[in-house]
């Protein structure tokens, strides 16, 4: 894909809109997945997808080809998602208390269950994790999603978010610590 991207990028940089269309069609689904993971809802994710390609189009001249186009796009999307999260209410302010109360039944550990009960436990943790993610700052949420769900090493997260390595490590650390604390409160932490 990198080779195909390179040819399309070269043409797009000269103003060839069809070439940029190729890139949009090729990368949209991947960018949507990242955007959804970071924002947690479809409407915001769709906005992030549009904004990502707009920014990419405006900044094509800045893309020098040192990284793959997909990686560059990924960075733009992560930063667009952070902007969307920052525009939302402050972290914690939108924490859905009803969801917490509804999730009141304490689940001690998934390891003790098997079969359908294990699935129920996993669904419960997923729901509680989604609620707990609201307690993270935009930067923590971005760093956590990139590390946990996208499997990016912390050095790449630092580059993507334009922060130092130490700051990226600290963001991942704070995110995991907060999630652990929140999930413990919600009764979903594994022992």
């Amino acid at each position: 894909m990198a080779g195909i991207d390179a040819a399309a990028v070269t043409r797009a940089r000269t103003g060839d809109r069809e070439a940029f269309r190729e890139l949009v069609e090729r990368h949209s689904r991947h960018i949507f997945r990242l955007a959804y993971r970071m924002t947690g809802n479809e409407e915001d994710a769709e906005d992030v997808v549009q904004e990502t390609f707009l920014r990419a189009y405006k900044s094509l001249a800045r893309f020098e080809g040192h990284a793959e186009f997909g990686t560059w796009l990924h960075r733009i999307a992560a930063n667009c998602a952070i902007d969307v999260l920052r525009r939302r209410a402050p972290a914690g302010a939108s924490f859905p208390l009803e969801a917490v109360e509804a999730a009141g039944s304490s689940v001690e550990t998934g390891a003790a269950f098997g079969g359908p009960e294990r699935d129920l436990f996993a669904a419960d943790v997923r729901r509680k994790l989604a609620a707990s993610m609201e307690a993270l700052t935009p930067m923590e949420r971005a760093a956590f999603v990139l590390r946990h769900f996208e499997g990016k090493p912390v050095a790449e997260i630092a580059r993507a978010l334009d922060i130092r390595l130490g700051a990226a490590k600290n963001c991942v650390f704070r995110a995991v610590s907060k999630l652990r604390r929140e999930l413990t409160v919600l009764g979903a932490e594994t022992p």
Binding site: E25, S28, L60
Partner: protein, 248 residues
């Protein structure tokens, strides 16, 4: 024997190599901690991402294309990019956006009918405390980053920009604290602001950066900010009580 710190613990549990990885191999206690952390991380499964079919890219393009019509690609100028939204223009945009927001807020405040049920004082206070807590948290990250960096290396432009933005936010919070008569909080924020401004615009030489690190250390700026954040977070979690400041 020095055991691994929490940051390394998490990274190792994610499978990353850090200087502490070797210690983990030799230390049963740290291996147990890593195993427990790995178990916790493995339990964090995500909510399924909604599927988008093969036509999704075409749908995205359909919405995007009209927005690109009036937007020519900015071609490289002597090999240098000059895309919008970066560098000094970003700050100008920020200022313009803030000015526009203030103007809109003013006009809306004058003409919008009063809401029948405004946010209660306790809800407003919690939102404010949450924002202040996040600000202090972000400031600590920037300060820690600077304190732990190589004194010979210049402060990266991104860090300077962040420090400048934090200093601007800090000024508003400090002024609010002063107006509310919270002298102790205002004093901590004043110390923090001077450091943030120095990070944003000064400390251009290795000597200046060393001096700033000494000042952060001798004035216990990081410690004070950490204590203040802890108090703000505790206040945020506490049941509503009227007329209580973060220092009380």
């Amino acid at each position: 024997m020095r055991h691994i710190g929490d940051e390394d613990l998490i990274l190792i549990a994610y499978g990353e190599e850090t200087p502490a990885s070797r210690h983990v191999k030799a230390c049963p206690r740290c291996r147990t901690r890593v195993a427990r952390m790995s178990e916790f991380l493995a339990s964090l499964e995500e909510t399924p991402v909604p599927e988008r079919d093969e036509n999704y890219g075409r749908e995205v393009w359909k919405k995007l294309a009209p927005r690109l019509t009036q937007m020519p690609v900015r071609r490289p100028l002597f090999g240098l990019g000059f895309g919008l939204g970066f560098g000094p223009s970003r700050n100008l945009f920020r200022l313009a956006a803030v000015a526009a927001l203030v103007a809109v807020a003013f006009l809306v405040g004058r003409s919008w009918p009063r809401r029948p049920e405004p946010l209660s004082a306790s809800v407003r206070e919690r939102i404010l405390l949450s924002a202040v807590g996040d600000h202090l948290e972000r400031s600590q990250t920037v300060l820690l980053d600077f304190v732990n960096a190589d004194p010979a290396a210049d402060i990266p432009a991104g860090d300077r920009r962040r420090a400048g933005e934090l200093a601007a936010d800090n000024r508003l919070i400090r002024q609010t604290a002063s107006t509310a008569g919270d002298a102790a909080v205002a004093s901590v924020l004043d110390d923090l602001e001077r450091v943030l401004l120095e990070l944003a615009h000064g400390a251009a030489t290795a000597d200046a950066r060393t001096a700033l690190r000494r000042r952060i250390d001798s004035e216990e700026v990081l410690f004070k900010v950490r204590v203040l954040e802890a108090r703000v977070r505790a206040r945020e979690q506490a049941p509503p009580a009227a007329g209580k400041s973060v220092t009380s």
